[in-house]
Symmetry: C2
Subunit: 225 residues, 2 copies
């Protein structure tokens, strides 16, 4: 049986129904592919959106930041909307109206909770580092009690939300296919560049595999689950 989120009033898609997905497999794949996210919250009735990195553990998404962060203080025990969107391409159609983008996105709704327990907090942050860079955490100078205190960690249970995916070429009006207009897709993707070692690295310290072989989303899929 496919494990899916319920379709609620705020998570159902008003338009483009075929592009909507509620199964966890699709939602998780998008969350795991792109750590960059936007967290929306409300302060004094007004909307705020903060870019940050998210990571997933099972049916929870987490993000973190400075304990001094206004966004993290506002998000605690408050309603948030977490959005991840990946631009996969520009879709050039035969009319301006039918131009579009290929993309994968996830929108999650819920009440954020703060992870207070230092042991759990450290475990989550370890997972965050190792999720991006498999095995890196064990090589690092351990986080101190002060480091942990200065870090606020928020989580959200993945229980309300949806994914939206658009792929493929343009969908033009049938009559427009007779026009001599170039249509198609310009693909967009994220490229990882050559790592830049810190000039203060000690002599003889080799570039680790998690840097040499770095790939977005790789750790989650291949090494941890």
């Amino acid at each position: 049986m496919t494990d899916s989120l319920p379709i609620t009033n705020r998570s159902r898609l008003r338009r483009s129904h075929p592009r909507g997905h509620f199964d966890r497999e699709t939602i998780n794949a998008i969350l795991d592919a792109q750590p960059l996210c936007s967290v929306g919250y409300v302060m004094e009735g007004k909307p705020y959106v903060t870019p940050t990195l998210q990571w997933r553990e099972g049916n929870h998404a987490y993000w973190h930041g400075s304990s001094a962060s206004q966004a993290l203080r506002a998000g605690r025990d408050a309603e948030v909307c977490l959005s991840v969107s990946i631009l996969d391409g520009f879709v050039l159609a035969r009319s301006g109206f039918h131009h579009s983008v290929n993309s994968r996105s996830v929108t999650l709704f819920g009440t954020a909770f703060k992870v207070e327990d230092p042991v759990e907090k450290l475990a989550k942050l370890t997972r965050f580092v190792n999720g991006l860079f498999p095995g890196r955490y064990a090589d690092l100078r351990p986080d101190t009690a002060q480091d942990l205190k200065a870090t606020t960690l928020l989580g959200l249970k993945i229980e309300e939300g949806s994914a939206k995916i658009r792929s493929g070429g343009p969908n033009d009006e049938e009559a427009d296919y007779a026009l001599p207009i170039w249509a198609g897709v310009i693909p967009v993707q994220t490229e990882i560049g050559a790592p830049i070692p810190d000039p203060r690295n000690l002599d003889g310290v080799a570039m680790p595999e998690h840097v040499r072989e770095f790939k977005l989303g790789s750790a989650y899929g291949k090494k941890q689950e």
Copy 2:
């Protein structure tokens, strides 16, 4: 004199002050570099974030979508928060705590307005297409009155907000530089792939220059302003 936005209570940066920028040149450069944005708004007291494309004309940012869109209806004459964020790299430090990302982001606040006048609406949408693909709009089947009616166009005056930029290598605790840990930056960038022509393109229709030479942000900087 540098043209800058005022520093308001919600746009000032609580932390990392040196990373904050309020001058229009910096803000505009980030908006022009990345059309993908997240628009935050409030419905019935709850936060919503919708990914969409934005474009800039002078001191205004615009975005559009279906007139049936809940996000666009909610955003009209309502407070919104428009966020653009570009991930430039992962910063690997010698402790988990000092890991970071290099990024450029802009956060704008204000009340969205709807562009109702059909002539102005068409002009803005033309600019949107030509901003991404210089000269393309003139080649297309013109938008119909129905196309325009089905499109809602929202705008936001760029008058409150800020940019935040982090670049360079890790900033570790001085003592940690003595540790034999690889530190540095893994750069991330957006790559444009080879265009994929629609199989239904007519024979002899050549790939236009705005497709062959497509580059994100190029049109704004070089051809229109």
